[in-house]
């Protein structure tokens, strides 16, 4: 259904910088279509990031986050070969998880 995320996780020293791009409309619910009808809100509400299976960050998002969202965070105590996974859940119950290996 939804397109995969792009997750880049790069280690430098014992820190891993993770950059995530998610494919999502992030519709605010404030816009109208050409016919003047309100386009219903459709946006990612929750994001969870795990490092080797352990949750390291959760986030609650509102409709102010830009379309095709970008998220960057830094994991402490990571190394090449570790797994970083990100899950998002939207307000319509849509959900997606993708995983990347730290390089």
């Amino acid at each position: 259904m939804s397109d995969p995320m792009r997750i880049r996780a790069q280690a430098a020293g014992d820190k891993v910088t993770v950059r995530v791009l998610m494919s999502h409309e992030m519709e605010t619910g404030q816009r109208k279509d050409a016919a003047g009808k309100v386009i219903p809100a459709w946006f990612i509400q929750e994001v969870t990031a795990t490092h080797n299976g352990k949750t390291v960050l959760t986030a609650d998002w509102g409709p102010s986050i830009a379309k095709n969202p970008f998220l960057q965070f830094v994991v402490k105590g990571g190394k090449v070969g570790d797994k970083v996974a990100v899950t998002w859940t939207d307000n319509k119950g849509g959900k997606r998880t993708d995983e990347a290996t730290v390089s």
Partner: protein
């Protein structure tokens, strides 16, 4: 009388305390904080998340461009150098939905998050740090949004 907002705020606080103490996995904090996202200003949003009055602090920073070529995508970041941070918030003062993001951080990540927000017009952007001890600090930055392109 207890309003729905206060109730939600209280339950969020309790859940936060439990999670902080290791009683609950973070993912069980689940419930999306509707009241906070419905808030019309920073103080209300922080209150809805169980925090006190925010105090401006040099130890919190908000990053972003001075001018955004397009308000549809504005790169912003929030960070703090203070130990013991529980949550980092990003808010756009003049957006219909002022609260953009709540980051529940753990010791395993740096208190330095970057994302991109929409901005309907030039506005202050706030980064807020909610601490484990209940204190709340913030930083502000004005970002100008310009009109671009042919405009048709």
């Amino acid at each position: 009388m207890q309003t729905r907002r206060e109730m939600l705020a209280r339950s969020a606080t309790v859940a936060g305390l439990l999670a902080g103490a290791g009683f609950l996995p973070l993912s069980a904090m689940a419930a999306w904080p509707q009241a906070a996202f419905d808030s019309k200003n920073m103080a209300d949003a922080v209150k809805a998340l169980g925090g006190g009055a925010p105090v401006e602090s040099k130890d919190v920073s908000v990053s972003g461009p001075d001018i955004a070529e397009n308000g549809a995508v504005v790169p912003v970041g929030c960070a703090t150098t203070l130990p013991g941070v529980k949550r980092l918030l990003l808010l756009v003062e003049k957006n219909p939905s002022v609260l953009a993001a709540v980051f529940n951080v753990t010791d395993a990540v740096e208190a330095n998050l970057n994302t991109r927000v929409k901005m309907g017009q030039s506005s202050n952007v706030f980064a807020v740090a909610m601490m484990n001890d209940g204190k709340v600090f913030f930083a502000a930055k004005e970002i100008k949004v310009t009109l671009g392109g042919c405009g048709g």
